[in-house]
């Protein structure tokens, strides 16, 4: 394949850090040996709303190995903009499980045990944790994540919908979901004077250093964040969480390095999650399936201390052509943990609703769902009128249909009883962006190259991909290059998030390496004794990008089997076909696509953070009761991609692939379940009780 890199020193399909990981040599944040480290363990609130009247740490402090107990009574003052990071700065409790105190002790077990001995006296007041579509507290946020308009409108959507010969008007619901990366949030923190160093499980060392510095009133260069290996994040490690503030605060309090790792149960309250959504979709179409009106109204929730307004309807703004259209987002502040990014925030829940509704429209019009989508393909971005830099949804649908064997499909639903089987399709999309990053490429007199950037490999294979990119740009074998990442002291870089990590980093790395290669060429290959180096910064180039619409697209096809006696759904086959610009390292890309699709399958069938109105928390706060897909749930899972030339997005032309794989999967499965059973499940997950016939 000409579009991909061939780097002979990196055998196909392998990761350069693979041997370190499988042998345990790779160190994750909590695993670094640090002399004299002690342990911090948080105390969580046991009420969902109220005030801390009093704290009593005497029993905990009486234990000989307890060094300190931090509470709102004695915690040092912070300068945190983010209320979630303003640890122990207030006596108010905003949700059950919020961190209200912490114990520091010489062993982890003692710290944990002593945390149970810290007495917190609360003045509890009634809480409200239940999202309803007509909640009296609904309000219109000023923008939705990260800075999209809250509402958009064009034409006369209400009139066009009312006049449409074919109408779909349905409400879809997605539950709360938790990111649940394998590695829990973990920190080791220590101070040397006014300089703070942390080993941190983070998706972005540069941004983490800046934010942590702000919380402690420091300059960014006074904080060093090291993240050599990170065991997944899915957005939950995109910015610092309370664990790092706690570790740093505790380290300062006791004057020793402090380790802090959250339990899975603690993570359900304090590291973010995907908030539930209630989405009303109205599609109006003519008899030929051409959309005349699209209306997507979203109700979401956030906490009382911080607004995170998920951009659930934004994908609806660019998916399909229709002259009359509206999207809206309304929020309620509830006494719940603060939601945050989870893989494809916005697109993932929103496309479940839109792509389910498109399937309902296909049924209503009798038009094949692949064909229906093709008929509504827009020539330009529907709301803005901007041209697409590249858009190949139709190619994904057509090629996917051919690979999947879609042409043989019997469109009738619920007729294949006895071993009920069905197939479904849904489209996928995700923005293609890059953010300013810097890189440094240098060469020593020996001819050995070092390429540095504060990127981070959270399990995506970024370390391998960037090495391949660097070697390719330098025109040297990969084993002539040392790649340095995972440290905020390296040239600052975008986080591993928003599917922008590799796109942003590879741009900066390529620029630096090409500039260095140019220097070497200018010297006819003679490298001076002091070596040479070249620095890149992509901010100007990214700022100068043409004002075009840039997205990845994909088509997801699902084959499901439903047990007629039990309603159990299994997915024998999933196929995703993606158009995501240049695929830099195929093996890593495949992992990202099928990982996203697996998470989408998990969303479709399993994942639900149940909210208990009695206590205001997520009672299923462990991996025994919060189900994510197991290996046995995943059968024939295939991801393919089409060759796509993305002319604008940096020298690599890569659109980012971390999130497009999860978008649309749940709708494809729900649509297949409808095809199998005749039952339309509009509220995820598709548990067996919803299909008992």
């Amino acid at each position: 394949m000409t579009a991909t890199l061939s780097t002979p020193q990196i055998p196909h399909g392998t990761r350069i850090d693979g041997p370190d990981k499988v042998t345990g040599r790779a160190r994750y944040a909590f695993e670094h040996p640090v002399d004299g480290a002690v342990y911090a363990w948080p105390v969580q609130s046991t009420i969902a709303k109220g005030e801390i009247r009093d704290t009593d740490a005497s029993a905990a402090l009486a234990l000989p190995s307890v060094l300190a107990v931090l509470t709102p009574d004695n915690a040092p003052r912070l300068t945190a903009d983010d209320p979630e990071l303003a640890l122990f700065q207030s006596r108010s409790v905003a949700y059950r499980g919020q961190l209200v105190a912490a114990v520091v002790a010489t062993s982890l077990e003692t710290a944990r045990g002593a945390a149970d001995l810290v007495r917190i006296d609360y003045a509890e007041v009634p809480h409200d944790v239940t999202l309803t579509p007509d909640h009296p507290g609904l309000y219109k946020p000023e923008k939705v994540n990260p800075n999209f308009p809250t509402d958009t409108e064009a034409g006369d959507p209400d009139g066009a919908f009312a006049a449409a010969p074919v109408r779909v008007d349905k409400t879809y619901r997605t539950p709360g979901e938790h990111n649940n990366p394998m590695e829990p949030h973990a920190t080791i923190a220590w101070w040397e004077g006014d300089r703070l160093t942390v080993f941190e499980a983070t998706q972005g060392p540069s941004r983490a250093a800046t934010i942590i510095a702000g919380v402690f009133g420091l300059q960014p260069d006074q904080v060093r964040v090291i993240a050599e290996h990170v065991g997944g994040g899915f957005g939950a490690k995109g910015t610092p969480r309370p664990n790092v503030i706690l570790a740093a605060m505790a380290a300062r309090a006791v004057g020793r390095p402090v380790k802090c790792v959250l339990t899975r149960q603690q993570m359900f309250a304090v590291v973010g999650h995907r908030a539930p959504s209630i989405q009303r979709l109205r599609l109006g179409a003519d008899e030929n399936g051409r959309l005349t009106a699209i209306v997507h109204d979203v109700v979401g929730q956030t906490s009382t201390i911080k607004e995170f307004a998920e951009q659930t309807a934004v994908a609806t703004r660019h998916m399909y052509a229709a002259p009359n259209r509206r999207t809206t987002h309304r929020m309620v502040r509830l006494d719940v943990p603060t939601p945050a990014w989870m893989r494809a925030p916005g697109e993932c829940p929103g496309m479940f609703a839109l792509e389910s509704a498109m399937d309902e429209l296909a049924v209503a019009t009798g038009i094949d769902p692949v064909e229906l989508r093709i008929r509504n393909e827009p020539a330009v971005e529907p709301e803005s009128g901007k041209p697409f830099s590249s858009r190949n949804l139709v190619a994904c649908l057509r090629e996917g249909a051919a690979w999947f064997g879609w042409a043989d499909r019997d469109p009738a639903a619920g007729t294949r009883r006895h071993g009920l089987t069905g197939t479904g399709v849904a489209a996928s999309t995700y923005p293609a962006r890059a953010m300013a990053s810097q890189a440094l490429a240098s060469v020593e007199a020996t001819g050995h190259y070092v390429v540095s950037i504060a990127a981070v490999d959270i399990g995506t294979g970024a370390r391998t991909a960037l090495l391949a990119v660097a070697a390719d740009a330098l025109g040297v074998p990969a084993d002539h290059v040392t790649l340095r990442i995972g440290d905020s002291e390296l040239p600052p870089a975008m986080i591993a998030g928003g599917s922008m990590g590799n796109a942003s980093w590879s741009w900066a790395v390529t620029d630096a390496c090409r500039a260095l290669r140019e220097q070497i060429r200018a010297r006819d290959g003679a490298i001076p004794a002091g070596g040479l180096s070249a620095h890149s910064s992509t901010g100007d180039a990214i700022g100068a990008l043409p004002d075009h619409a840039r997205y990845s697209f994909g088509a997801q096809f699902a084959d499901v089997r439903v047990d007629a006696d039990t309603g159990e759904v299994r997915v024998p086959r999933l196929l995703g076909v993606f158009a995501a610009g240049r695929i830099v390292v195929p093996a890593m890309a495949r992992s990202q696509f099928i990982g996203g699709m697996t998470m989408g399958l998990s969303m479709a069938l399993h994942e639900e953070s149940m909210i208990d109105p009695q206590f205001g928390d997520y009672p299923n706060h462990d991996l025994a009761s919060y189900h994510v897909a197991a290996n046995a749930d995943v059968c024939d899972l295939d991801a393919r991609w089409i060759d796509e030339d993305e002319p604008e997005l940096g020298p690599a032309g890569a659109k980012g692939i971390g999130e497009v794989g999860i978008v649309g999967t749940a709708a494809a499965i729900a649509n297949a379940v409808y095809h199998a059973t005749g039952i339309r499940v509009r509220d995820l997950p598709i548990r067996l009780d919803k299909l008992l016939l």
Partner: protein, 329 residues
């Protein structure tokens, strides 16, 4: 987790004597449930008496036929035993449907029988639970109870017993051998477990110091025609939403004998005797099986969130028995 002592006694008598005489002492089998509960603060034993090295790890023919299974036999070994696989396939299937390979390698027969409910409120010490803290209340009835009991529950507790293995043993009429401080005795599996009533903290007929030493499977020829069907939300590594253990003996198209037990629907492994009675002598047809299941479910007291288990149990009982009856023709 609170500090605790750990002992490895030399023999069963010593283990029994130690636990009987020591406040806060408990037996430790594979630890796959107990250690989790200790981490959660649900259990805080002062002394763990390890009973995994007491030579209770044999599977041998019982004197009057059948099979005697040491209480220390690991779940993996029991599932792989050729006699179990051939003569009591329902048991092998139930074991393999439970947990994960790693957990089955650790979990013992005795410990599996005595594992605790996975009710979310029982496992969270910051919340009330009548089983964990008698008299504190039961939030499950008004809260999250999708996977809790529809049969045998009480106003004070609707927790379900989580074991797969025990459901198969209930169907097979297993006998539990218990060594106590004063005496040794054998009791039917059905006698081992207590329904919650107003004392949900008392789950079994065992007294402090009583050690399960073995489980005996009585000879049951038609157990060769038996099966375990576990319905679960996730394809593996999930507790049952409903399970059915069944064995059936069909002669001339009529049900000569049948064993039926249900899992994940009651505080105990639920032997469906009413359904069994309803099938005896009747034609081995779907109609018979479904009306028998419905007879058992007449006593069901479902709640808002678990009412689906009533039709689900009916469907699965009918399907499993129909399949077994079909395979014997």
């Amino acid at each position: 987790m609170q500090p605790f002592q750990y002992q490895q006694p030399a023999d069963a008598a010593g283990a029994v004597a130690t636990v009987a005489a020591t406040d806060g002492a408990v037996f430790l089998g594979g630890g796959t449930n107990l250690v989790d509960l200790m981490k959660l603060g649900v259990e805080a034993p002062g002394l763990l008496v390890d009973v995994t090295r007491l030579s209770m790890d044999r599977i041998e023919p019982a004197p009057d036929g059948g099979l005697r299974i040491g209480a220390g036999v690991r779940n993996s070994d029991l599932a792989a035993d050729p006699r179990v696989r051939a003569e009591y396939p329902v048991l092998a299937q139930a074991l393999l449907a439970g947990a994960s390979g790693q957990l089955r390698n650790m979990a013992t027969v005795g410990g599996n029988l005595l594992q605790r409910t996975r009710c979310l409120y029982f496992q969270d010490v910051t919340k009330p639970c009548n089983k964990r803290q008698p008299g504190s209340g039961c939030p499950a009835r008004t809260g999250e109870h999708r996977n809790l009991a529809i049969l045998g529950g009480s106003a004070s507790c609707i927790a379900t017993h989580p074991s797969d293995m025990a459901v198969a043993l209930a169907a097979l009429g297993a006998v539990v051998h218990v060594q106590g401080a004063g005496r040794s005795r054998a009791l039917d599996l059905a006698e081992l477990y207590r329904l919650p009533g107003d004392e949900p903290d008392r789950e079994t007929a065992l007294s402090r110091g009583d050690l399960i030493t073995a489980v005996e499977l009585p000879p049951l020829d038609f157990a060769r025609c038996s099966a375990y069907r576990k319905v679960r939300d996730r394809a593996s590594y999930a507790f049952a939403v409903t399970s059915v253990a069944a064995a059936i003996d069909v002669e001339d198209g009529l049900v000569r004998d049948v064993r039926l037990a249900l899992g994940a629907v009651a505080p105990v492994p639920w032997r469906a005797r009413r359904a069994e009675q309803a099938m005896l002598g009747r034609p081995a047809t779907e109609e018979t099986f479904r009306s028998a299941a419905d007879a058992e479910l007449a006593a069901a007291a479902p709640l808002r969130g678990n009412a689906f288990k009533v039709p689900l149990v009916s469907n699965v009982v009918t399907a499993v028995l129909s399949q077994l009856a079909g395979s014997t023709r």
